[in-house]
Symmetry: C2
Subunit: 334 residues, 2 copies
Amino acid sequence: MRFQEVVLKHVLTEVPNRHDFAITERSVPSPDGPGSLIVENICLSLDPYIGSRLRGRHMGEPAPAPGERMPGFSVCRVIDSDAAGFAKSDWVLGEIGWASAGRIDASKVRRLDSSLPSDAHLSVLGIPGLTAWAGITQLLKIKPGDIFSVDAASGPVGATAGQLAKSLGARVIGIAGGQMKCALATDYFGFDQCIDRLAPDFAAKFAEACGAGGPTAHFENVGLSILLPAMTRLAANGRVVLCGMIEHYHADQPPMIPTGLIIGKRAQMLGLVVYDFQSRQDEWHAMAKRLLAEGRLKYLCDEVQGVHSAPEQFERLMRGANQGKCLIRFTPDR
Amino acid sequence: MRFQEVVLKHVLTEVPNRHDFAITERSVPSPDGPGSLIVENICLSLDPYIGSRLRGRHMGEPAPAPGERMPGFSVCRVIDSDAAGFAKSDWVLGEIGWASAGRIDASKVRRLDSSLPSDAHLSVLGIPGLTAWAGITQLLKIKPGDIFSVDAASGPVGATAGQLAKSLGARVIGIAGGQMKCALATDYFGFDQCIDRLAPDFAAKFAEACGAGGPTAHFENVGLSILLPAMTRLAANGRVVLCGMIEHYHADQPPMIPTGLIIGKRAQMLGLVVYDFQSRQDEWHAMAKRLLAEGRLKYLCDEVQGVHSAPEQFERLMRGANQGKCLIRFTPDR
């Protein structure tokens, strides 16, 4: 049996595009002793942090070398098991990368409930949802009366953060790139307002949406182009989560914020790293399943078919052209 | 009756020195109708923020124009009152500036307890003490087990912050410029350790003093030369109060911190503006008087005599050459 994979062609020096990747074909290996699994890919997650990782700027993890497989997590189906407790057809979450199948150590996977959709495991119940939960409930501690702003508002973190903030009693102002994403934020995800960051009067419209007092809490997913105007409008004693800085992942200089803005606003700046909250995923799942059942939490995936689509889909993600959580579908859930 | 005052000679473009000021003499005015007080200066406070204010960079307050009196708060004695409830010999805190006497509106003063020393009113019970209290108890919320670091450790904010943190159960690491200030921090103020920021091996010594985990809470009074190494060593989920940035008050560029450092450390960055806490001074005074009585809180003033000493004393403050809270003594307390 053969499988396809995507490898990095060369060392990256700027924002990745589809031409930075090549598709190759290999043989599926056999289990290599106790504890190993052979899995097929059901659905692969493409995430903004991979852009940062390709430059060696993500949590100290090395960038893949030219010729190496692209990294990434997938919902996988076990097709051959040499590990106790894992049987054929079991679902696991594991990092086999951009590949239609692979071998993985059972100690490095997490078992998944195959009665739930694979796209939910990778979006609202996965890392993006956990990120939003951590920021909203553990760091910002959103409460009734908050004026909450979040950018990348139709993306999987922003959309979940906005819906959670709404469910906790905040007024929710989204920020997104373009009218279509803004419409998704308000009409599909139920944000109170969403401001187009690409419009020339963005700063004025954002200020107007937040009202005279400004946002009391802000969740940053993009970078300084949003963070600085949001902090300039921030209410005194406002809280700010720094989560993602996608617009700077390929910049020469690291993003910097003036200490005077933090002091002047009496702000609380809060750094969020989702990996710190992985042991608390059950808490988030309990809340998420309740909100999903009540229709108060929605998710949206931008899914394309097959490993050969991954380079172009990743380029779309890096350009912000995606609509919802970026996924690559390999096989149907059932 | 004549009085002396210090005026600014010219617009400042760099760190102020004694030659930027001139001493003039004027007549003490009479009360100008209901509500005004004529006061003599007992003791004037010189504060780092005045350096920032001289450049028009302090809370939006304008810099004094050339020929205008230097601003600053004093403990004053009423010598003539046209205000209900104020009698001759009453003590008030008011901003008459660098002058041996002046006229001030009674609505702009705060009555002081004249049974306490004037230098205590301007240091441990004044704005520096309140700043330390706000940072330690309201923002950092220091608790037993914290590893607490603070710079300008022998200064009035740093020394009070360190003693409060110690009284709340933290291990206290000071940072100060020079061996004499370090000795004051440990031997007089009771810090566990104090590291000389001017020593070539400062970063290594600081790291060693904090231990493998790094500081869990840091209080910043100086600027990036300390803040960046302290944040680099900060414990995960560490808290950082941004209070003063004296080393940048005369720089061309505002101080900036990389967002990656905040995110990587999962830090809480907390902006402190002491004016927000002025309505809560009684809470601080209750705690301070108890600690003072128990001998667990000390203060140290660097006092010189007479208005003509103010320019040189201010230059010393701006160079960090002072030992303790900078004051100008005009008349004895009693």
